[in-house]
């Protein structure tokens, strides 16, 4: 159940995070830094949800 708390991280990264990374440079993969930060965290969020899904006992039940 502890692993579910990982879900808090995207909120911190995308709501509080911009206060610390609101800058255009350096560009990363051609994107201004703030945009690159947001994109990176969307990717990480997907990973986090995959980890939560895989470890959640509720998903091992028979129902679809």
């Amino acid at each position: 159940m502890l692993i579910r708390w990982l879900a808090v991280i995207p909120f911190l990264a995308l709501i509080i995070g911009p206060f610390f990374v609101n800058r255009a440079t350096p560009f990363i993969a051609g994107l201004p830094f703030l945009l690159a930060w947001i994109v990176a965290w969307i990717l990480i969020t997907s990973l986090i949800m995959a980890v939560i899904y895989a470890t959640d006992p509720a998903n091992r039940e028979g129902e679809p």
């Binding site: 995308l14 709501i15 255009a24 560009f27 945009l35 947001i38 509720a58 129902e63």
Partner: protein, 485 residues
């Protein structure tokens, strides 16, 4: 006849054909019509939930927002992602409860959970008031797309009428099955078109993404970061939070959740949906590319950025393909909204008055209401003008007021839930009608505070009223919150 028109016409016909075909082999009772017999697997649920992201508002508005405002547009990427994270925990219990009690609409949920038909009527009214401007927006977007992409051959008014007739026809025949089938066509097309445009345009005009953003930062320093005031960091944080909470409160999104055949389907989708959102990034690239290429659009005209740049760049036939995609982005969400509004009126308003009505009669009435709701939306589309985006934001603030009463808690009583919703909605209405903001209400407050999204206040008022009234009425009512567990 120009080269663009056949493609646009084909999109409308495709939607109509898929919409009709979707009915095959199904007995269209109320449960099939509104919630697909609760038998949809991961793909259809995914497309219905994701369909919310790619409406005309995103296609035109997302690129237009990036074109006109720059970095504040990023908020659209963030709030969807966070809403999906929330949905992992919030939606499965709601789905299970809806299945157990055979619920059709969002307001059914409130009726059951709080055992209060009155609360159901309140929620239905809030939903309908919020849905109509959303439908108007889709139709208005459709008009703009057909007029520009068709090089003026079909007027916006004609396009709006044709679009409304197409949607009405297939919603009446196939219900949510029609929406699901057409959303397959819509999402396939938009995926291909948006990714192509988002990559091609920056390379064509600037030689790549990096050079494009460098050119924009040189011409407009600070355009790709949040500004110090106005739509700055505090606006961004409060807006992301507010819209993430409101995301699933839209009644048509809420109801599309009922179509799932299991809770696991919903949880699994939360892994892929954030990635799917990233397609919005390409929509932004189009908007950013347009900033220096078709400058000078201001006010509501920023929504034209994508099509202005397309017309400047491509042959008419390809503008037609883009237009066809745009048409589908209006029709599919439009059909979901229409279906939801008709179901709400028949199932939650009519049935509350005439308790003896059976499913068959409610179902027949809901289908008859589809053209009526569509006609009302067409009327407002042709009559009203500039205030649509304001109405949409008001709609968002309105549906978000349903969140506190929905959140799983053991505090809320039916009186508390109703009082909270009414207080929140009244605050939204008061603020919207007087045009107030923190700048005018609290001129002495620090500027960071003034930039907060005003919807946060309504939500706070709602929470406080809900808790106070619930505590006051607690002993009188059964603990309703437990029912959702």
């Amino acid at each position: 006849m120009n080269a663009a028109l056949p493609f646009i016409a084909a999109a409308a016909l495709l939607a109509l054909a898929l919409g009709f075909l979707a009915r095959r082999g199904k007995d269209m009772d109320l449960e099939q019509w509104t919630v697909g017999g609760r038998g949809f697997g991961a793909l259809f649920v995914f497309l219905l939930l994701a369909g919310e992201i790619y409406t005309t508002f995103t296609f035109l508005g997302g690129s237009g927002f990036a074109y006109g405002k720059g970095a504040p547009a990023y908020y659209i990427l963030c709030y969807g992602t966070l809403a999906y994270v929330l949905s992992y925990f919030m939606l499965p219990p709601i789905w299970r409860y809806a299945k157990e009690h055979r619920l059709y609409s969002q307001s059914d949920f409130f009726v059951r959970k709080y055992d209060s038909p009155t609360l159901g009527i309140i929620v239905s009214l809030v939903d309908i008031v919020a849905l109509i401007p959303y439908l108007v927006l889709q139709l208005k977007g459709l008009g703009i797309i057909v007029e520009i992409a068709g090089y003026g051959a079909i007027s916006a008014t004609a396009a709006i009428w044709i679009g409304a007739v197409v949607v009405t026809a297939y919603v009446m025949v196939s219900g949510v099955h029609g929406s699901a089938w057409t959303s397959v066509a819509k999402d396939t097309m938009i995926l291909v078109i948006v990714i192509f445009l988002g990559i091609y345009l920056p390379y064509h005009y600037y030689g790549g993404l990096g050079p494009m953003f460098a050119a924009i930062e040189e011409a407009k320093p600070g355009f790709t970061v949040l500004p110090p005031h106005g739509q700055g960091l505090w606006w961004f944080a409060s807006t992301v939070l507010l819209t993430a909470l409101g995301f699933y409160m839209w009644p048509h999104t809420f109801a599309s959740l009922y179509t799932a055949k299991g809770a696991k389907v919903i949880r699994k989708n939360t892994i892929v949906l954030p990635l799917y959102q990233l397609i919005l990034l390409f929509v932004f690239f189009v908007g950013f590319a347009a900033t220096l290429q078709v400058p000078g659009l201001t006010g509501p005209d920023i929504d034209l950025a994508l099509f202005k740049l397309s017309v400047k760049t491509f042959d008419p036939w390809f503008v037609g393909v883009i237009g066809a995609t745009g048409v589908l982005t209006a029709l599919v969400p439009g059909s979901m909204i229409l279906l939801t509004a008709a179901t709400l009126i028949a199932n939650n308003l009519y049935r509350a008055v005439d308790r003896s009505a059976d499913d068959r009669r409610v179902s027949a009435l809901a289908k008859l209401l589809v053209p009526a709701v569509a006609a009302v939306a067409v009327f407002f589309t042709l009559k009203g003008g500039e205030t649509i985006v304001a109405l949409l934001l008001m709609g968002y603030s309105l549906v978000t007021q349903l969140f506190p009463a929905l959140a799983r808690n053991n505090i809320a009583t039916r009186e508390g839930a109703a009082a909270g919703i009414i207080a929140g909605v009244a605050t939204v209405a008061g603020v919207s009608l007087t045009g107030a903001s923190f700048h005018t209400l609290l001129p002495w407050a620090p500027v960071e505070f003034q930039d907060l999204n005003i919807g946060i206040v309504a939500l706070a008022v709602n929470f406080v009223v809900l808790i106070l009234v619930s505590l006051a009425t607690r002993h009188a009512a059964a603990p309703a919150g437990a029912a959702a567990e």
